[in-house]
Symmetry: C2
């Protein structure tokens, strides 16, 4: 496929859309390429929410609607045109064909109701030539039984539910996971694979964007799906690209939608980019949020990044707080408050590896009060 | 479309299928037409269940699977090929286009999980050029709210849930109903239309067959959907066609499926046929079951037919029993045992009109014991 041609089409649609019209005034779609895409203005979820609050009704040409729970507006609607849906189905099918997924029996345990989740996987896997069974969420024991009775090869669901299916006796040669942190939680994949008896692959997507990155059988990071999106990782402060291997905010241009175009959409998700074979790869997946970044000792700390690390050490991923204090000599002091009875061996080293910061002090507590970050430095 | 050509295709597929192979030995698909279809052998749900119990795994070429609860085997699987699904989507879309359903906003409140219900409506309405929102079942108040906020025109669900949506404040210009007795229950449509503030249309289908009959805006019975099926009404004893206007068993040949061909499938449902404009119409819809037929005073009585009549009079549709006794002079005595405090005026006349039989005696009881029919004549 010609990604540049498709990109121009998406930018052309964006230029006509009220969310972009003003800021794309000087943009000439025919000149936009994968190389200079970074010169276009960024777009935030807040901009979309402001627009949709004023214009809740479906736009002309809308053919499929979903709603996503949104802290900003209750439910946020997403609309695809018939053409968008056709494009997306074929584009994502190509990704599954590359994974060798054709002629398989696939059970989808994401919801098809209200949310886009089930549809995204279903349509593409169907189109790639698989038998798809839209099971919907829940009922781990029934899924285990159906999997056996009808000989299903592939399970599509979030990894924690996959664990339950495995514990109920379900065995699947392949798990296509999504919907929650998976490979960014150390040890999680190994646990799921052991119980399901197969290979588990991660993917990343949102309802606004579709599925934009997925693992290969080599399990070497989340690869940009070239037909679906262009990925960038930017410094959330300077909004410039971070060097490969450095943390930043994942910014996505969806190639699959023109009715609600998503051009340089700031996901707020934390990732590291690498370039391989001309594609962007997220070697550590998506592992935190950028919107609560704090500077500690001159280093950018993304506290949510600690959640999957704690999870990997068997702790409650939400059971922590970062406390920042000023040492007498004026330098920052990083205190980690943990809802735990003891500090698991290796945890501090893992945090230092991930964040580049040494924790100065650990406080073990029974309860936590306040937000993720308590900043007492100023 | 050429229905005869499509019929030949379906019969050709059936001839190759294990369920039909033996009994279709002498059948020459190229000679089968709408006129001589009645010469082919009938097929029962029991035959399919026997086959599927032995062969539960999806057949080659299966691309979409659903399960239906089956008293005979727990869950009965249905399989469609990619081609079947494409054909069905387009065929049913044609039906909705004839209803003027294009460019509308449609909220589907049937389930998409496990069952075929939601899919059947969704795919066709989407293909006909409507915006479809796959809401799924339940949450009447949320549906009322979403209907208002996003300007939905059409609600797709079963009529009793539609009532709840209306009671929660939902207003829809059109209801596409299905899934339970509707227009066969006197007064039900009027009640639903009053509360929803729009027009309500009935449809008939099963998961094995798809949607095979639907109402027109004229509300003059369930019309055979020519692209989807061929309908017949047979005497359940002689298995010969009953004259137009007489009760019998609805037998359906689905034109929409070749992977699990349904040729002259005995639904066990009770209907009356009329011929209009070259199509079969079920003027009273589907209003009972044929499998509990008893002969009373030489007349075929289908006791389940009484359920929608009782419902229309505000009684519990399951709160009755037919008791048959022998009068001293040797003739049959028909006793209706009713779980009610009094006999609603007009009920006996309605029963006589529907069944052609006069109830000799009514017994009002608090509780019912035993089955639908208590036959004490022999």
């Amino acid at each position: 496929m010609d990604r540049n041609a498709r990109l121009k089409e998406v930018v052309r649609a964006a230029k006509e859309h009220p969310v972009y019209r003003e800021k794309f005034k000087e943009v000439h779609p025919e000149e936009v390429t994968l190389e200079n895409l970074g010169e276009l203005p960024l777009t935030t979820r807040e901009e979309w929410v402001a627009y949709l609050k004023e214009n809740p009704r479906p736009p002309a040409g809308a053919s499929l609607m979903h709603l996503t729970p949104s802290p900003l507006m209750g439910w946020m609607p997403e609309y695809l045109s018939q053409e968008d849906l056709r494009y997306q189905t074929e584009a994502l099918a190509e990704h599954y064909r590359r994974l060798g997924l054709t002629g398989k029996r696939v059970l989808v345990a994401f919801s098809y109701h209200v949310f886009a989740g089930g549809w995204l996987f279903h349509q593409a896997l169907w189109r790639a030539g698989n038998l798809v069974f839209p099971h919907g969420p829940g009922e781990a024991a029934r899924i285990a039984e159906i999997g056996q009775a009808y000989g299903f090869d592939v399970l599509v669901t979030n990894p924690s539910f996959a664990l339950k299916v495995g514990q109920a006796g379900g065995r699947f040669a392949l798990l296509l996971a999504g919907g929650e942190p998976f490979t960014s939680v150390p040890g999680f994949r190994e646990k799921v694979e052991a119980v399901l008896g197969g290979v588990a692959l991660d993917a990343y997507g949102t309802s606004e964007l579709g599925i934009v990155a997925g693992e290969r059988l080599e399990k070497d990071g989340l690869w940009e799906i070239p037909e679906m999106a262009v990925l960038e990782v930017l410094d959330p402060e300077t909004l410039k690209p971070v060097p490969d291997g450095e943390k930043g905010e994942l910014v996505v241009t969806a190639l699959s939608r023109t009715l609600m175009p998503m051009v340089r959409f700031r996901t707020g998700d934390l990732a590291i980019a690498e370039r391989r074979e001309g594609l962007t790869v997220l070697p550590r997946g998506v592992f935190g949020r950028t919107d609560q970044m704090v500077k500690v000792k001159g280093v950018k700390l993304y506290p949510t990044e600690l959640a999957p690390i704690l999870g990997g050490f068997g702790l409650d991923p939400k059971g922590f707080q970062v406390v920042l204090e000023r040492k007498l000599e004026g330098t920052d002091k990083l205190v980690l408050r943990l809802k735990a009875e003891k500090v698991p061996p290796g945890l501090m080293e893992a945090i230092q590896r991930a964040t580049g910061l040494k924790v100065d002090e650990v406080e073990l507590v029974g309860e936590l009060e306040g937000g993720l970050v308590v900043d007492r430095r100023f």
